[in-house]
């Protein structure tokens, strides 16, 4: 077997399958927007006390690379973390499993395919960087090596690591779903902080660029204080002074550090093969769960039925004619069904933690309950909410449901109300105390959040047909906004100063309308 050829074709087929989907165009559009944000100085790097580099090849390359390796290493993970899932959904995986394919080949090929997708985005940014140099007047002369070397030696290894981590997360059962999506966000945050604190060459290369620009600025302005800032800002203050930075000195030590990340990435992709189940249906999570339940397996049941059923007397049975009650559509029953569908399948400890948080909401001081316990209580049902609007796509039940009478006007509000009910149940302790204390502003913030969260989940779920966007977006927002009490982004309203109940109430209504529109378009036949 020609190993490189097999590897190449496995990665190529997967890559082609991806790039021929509309979602890939959206991904490229995202990369182009990132390039646009850098080119129009919406996104910039400010160092020291209000310094930026002169827009030469090195600085533009570095600017684009930092944007690339920070944003794409986060967003890109969620974009590519569906390689195994796609093979499962398309059932192509079972065909592959019946071939002599080796597991390490498979996971490595999938990592390469992930890398190729992320690499396309890096390529877009490389071309955008070149265009930017032509546009900006202070950017001459052009040095392609200085412009592109950070992409090649910093961004691409970071992308390879992201690609391999995506595969590793997909193969590990516990990290395959929403838990992994949430965990990666904190891992990514930790990675950035670790590089800053430990002064090691982090995968995104920020520390490398930090050291280099710091040395250049210290040479240009000896008054630069010991505590040097290196900030990637969005819409913040513009730099008022410039200095010349001529790029990274690619010493063997620096190159070795970058090579090390490539080796680690490849090792992670190969390590993932240990957990790769080769599409064995027995290893699917729901099968394992079914096995733990009392009673025979599906196969045994079929066999038993075949053995015990009479061979000849196969009657059609009896059905009582229905008395039609179509005039009285049971809306609340549908809400209850949606709620049960959302909560069904959660393990006992999920309910235990939710109940514990509810007790915490009722017993801790109100300010602590709002700023701490409620915060936890409204991240805990993340994976429950993230199924909203995309469950039909995930489980292929759309064809059963969409032909139901008044599906759009009944099921969508019912689903939303079930989502609100989850928020009310998990955060009910704080809501009750705010009501009893007659804290009407606080209660307004609580109500708006309880409506906003499921609205966001529903809109993202319907438009993306996936739980990933909500899991990633909500976690990031929750962390930046409510957890840090950032006024404009604190949708939970953890403090009076940071709460914006009217804004989030309005946003909930808009998102609900967006969800309705999305479902209507998807049905095409409301």
């Amino acid at each position: 077997m020609n190993a490189p050829r097999v590897l190449y074709h496995m990665a190529r087929a997967d890559f082609l399958e991806r790039v021929r989907r509309y979602s890939f165009l959206l991904t490229l559009a995202g990369a182009l927007y990132l390039a646009y944000a850098v080119a129009t100085e919406k996104l910039r790097i400010v160092v020291g006390h209000g310094y930026r580099g002169v827009y030469n090849s090195a600085w533009i390359g570095m600017l684009m690379t930092v944007s690339c390796s920070t944003f794409l290493s986060l967003v890109g993970f969620y974009i590519v973390k569906n390689a195994l899932q796609r093979d499962t959904d398309t059932r192509a995986g079972r065909i592959l499993a019946a071939t002599p394919m080796r597991k390490p080949f498979y996971t490595l090929a999938k990592a390469f395919s992930n890398f190729a997708v992320l690499g396309c985005m890096v390529l877009v940014l490389m071309l955008a960087a070149l265009a930017m140099q032509f546009v900006l007047p202070e950017a001459r002369p052009i040095s392609l090596w200085r412009l592109w070397s950070p992409f090649l030696l910093v961004a691409l290894p970071a992308m390879f690591l992201t690609a391999s981590l995506a595969i590793l997360f997909e193969t590990l059962p516990i990290l395959r779903g929403g838990v992994g999506n949430v965990l990666y966000f904190f891992l990514w945050t930790f990675g950035l902080v670790l590089g800053d604190k430990a002064h090691v060459d982090d995968p995104s290369g920020i520390q490398l660029l930090y050291r280099s620009t710091r040395a250049a600025l210290a040479a240009a302005d000896p008054s630069t204080p010991e505590h040097f800032n290196f900030e990637l800002t969005i819409g913040g203050a513009h730099a008022i002074r410039t200095f010349v930075w001529n790029g990274i000195d690619w010493t063997p030590r620096v190159l070795a550090a970058r090579l090390l990340w490539i080796i680690i990435a490849a090792a992670l992709a190969l390590f993932a093969s240990v957990f790769f189940h080769r599409f064995d249906p027995e290893k699917e999570w729901f099968k394992r769960r079914a096995k733990t339940l009392p009673g025979p397996s599906a196969l045994q049941v079929s066999e038993q039925m075949a053995a015990s059923s009479p061979a000849i007397s196969i009657s059609a049975g009896h059905l009582t004619p229905l008395v039609r009650t179509s005039a009285r559509l049971r809306f609340l029953q549908l809400v209850a069904s949606e709620l049960r569908l959302m909560l069904k399948g959660q393990p006992w400890w999920w309910y235990t933690v939710a109940a514990g948080l509810l007790v915490g909401e009722l017993t801790s001081p109100l300010s602590a309950a709002r700023q701490g316990v409620l915060l936890a209580a409204w991240i805990w049902p993340l994976l429950v909410w993230s199924q909203m609007g995309c469950r039909e796509a995930r489980y292929a039940t759309g064809s059963l449901l969409f032909s139901s009478e008044r599906f759009l006007t009944r099921q969508l509000p019912a689903l939303w109300m079930a989502g609100v009910a989850v928020a009310a149940l998990t955060g009910g302790g704080v809501g009750l105390r705010l009501f009893l204390n007659a804290d009407w502003p606080g209660l307004a913030a609580w109500v708006s959040a309880a409506m906003f969260i499921p609205s966001l989940a529903l809109a993202l779920g319907i438009w993306s047909s996936s739980s990933i966007p909500f899991e990633a977006f909500y976690t990031a927002w929750w962390y930046i906004g409510p957890a840090h009490q950032m006024p404009a982004l604190d949708f939970i309203g953890t403090t009076l100063a940071s709460s914006r109940p009217q804004a989030y109430g309005f946003a909930a209504a808009v998102l609900l309308a967006v969800a309705y529109l999305g479902r209507r378009i998807r049905l095409g036949y409301a």
Binding site: E284, S404, E405
Partner: protein
């Protein structure tokens, strides 16, 4: 009770595949067997009738009302079993059917009784409390059959319903369809001729998006009467015979290969035999293809 399909065409995308072309059919109560080769447009027609997708041209009238203008009037009396569907793996059969019953607007008491009866009907009572994720393909298919009957539909559309069923369950389902057909319209789409042979009161043959034939099984059989022959020939001559004649079936025996030949005039030594619906189906399709290529 009347379903009128009036010159329905369906094109996917502006310049895409034309899956249905000027398809017209009028149906009353009974079982219509919709037969056609793969890619003939059966599933597209099913999707249009089930209000999943709109026709590009033409109309579907349910008791005189345009289904495109008021799909809910049709959906209220519709039961649909798609060819491909999924289930929620964490729910058991009862919970899944309760959920679908709520979506279809049935009240709790009616749902409960109906689900009990349906699970008994599809032989899933013993495993009703097991998560659907642990069900075999045939068992999931039976859940699909049960959900299609939840609202006691007047129009029942079943697309490849016996796929994945074992022979016993297939017979049970055929009997069920026959029993149901008295007071409703049942459309059974399949490429398994024996399923249609056992249940259909009418047959529609579809090929390349067009209606080839709509008739009762008896009329279809009459069309091929006197055109089916059994021909015994050495196995080495079979390949050559296939190039000359339309052969619907072959059986190897000690005296050679017994081939069922569909032809106007018999090959030398062939004897006339009684036609089957499979013979009629193949004959009509071959005639249609010959006409289309001419």
């Amino acid at each position: 009770m009347n379903l009128l399909i009036d010159k329905v065409s369906k094109q996917y995308g502006r310049h895409g595949t034309l899956a249905l072309r000027d398809f017209s059919l009028e149906l009353g109560t009974g079982v219509l067997g919709l037969l056609g080769p793969n890619g003939a447009g059966k599933t597209t027609l099913m999707s249009i009738l089930a209000t999943i997708t709109r026709a590009s041209q033409g109309r579907v009238l349910w008791n005189g009302a345009d289904a495109a203008a008021d799909p809910d009037s049709l959906r209220a009396v519709l039961g649909f079993l798609p060819q491909d569907f999924g289930v929620y793996p964490n729910l058991n059969a009862v919970e899944f059917l309760e959920y679908l019953a709520a979506v279809k607007g049935l009240d709790a008491a009616t749902s409960k009784r109906r689900i009990d009866e349906l699970l008994n009907l599809v032989n899933l009572t013993d495993v009703r409390k097991r998560p659907l994720g642990g069900y075999s393909g045939g068992m999931k298919q039976r859940v699909g059959i049960a959900q299609a009957l939840l609202n006691d539909p007047q129009l029942l559309i079943v697309d490849e319903p016996t796929a994945g069923l074992d022979p016993e369950e297939r017979v049970r389902f055929r009997n069920l369809l026959s029993e149901l057909s008295g007071e409703r319209i049942v459309i059974l789409s399949t490429h398994i001729v024996s399923d249609v042979e056992a249940t259909a009161t009418d047959i529609a043959l579809i090929s390349q998006g067009r209606l080839v034939e709509h008739a009762s099984p008896e009329i279809l059989l009459q069309k091929v009467e006197g055109r089916v022959w059994e021909w015994v020939l050495p196995s080495v001559e079979l390949t050559a015979a296939r190039q000359r004649y339309l052969i619907s079936n072959t059986t190897r025996r000690s005296d050679g290969v017994h081939a069922r030949v569909l032809a106007e005039a018999p090959p030398a030594g062939a004897l006339p035999v009684g036609p089957t619906l499979e013979d009629a189906y193949l004959y009509c399709l071959s005639q249609h293809r010959a006409g289309a290529s001419a």
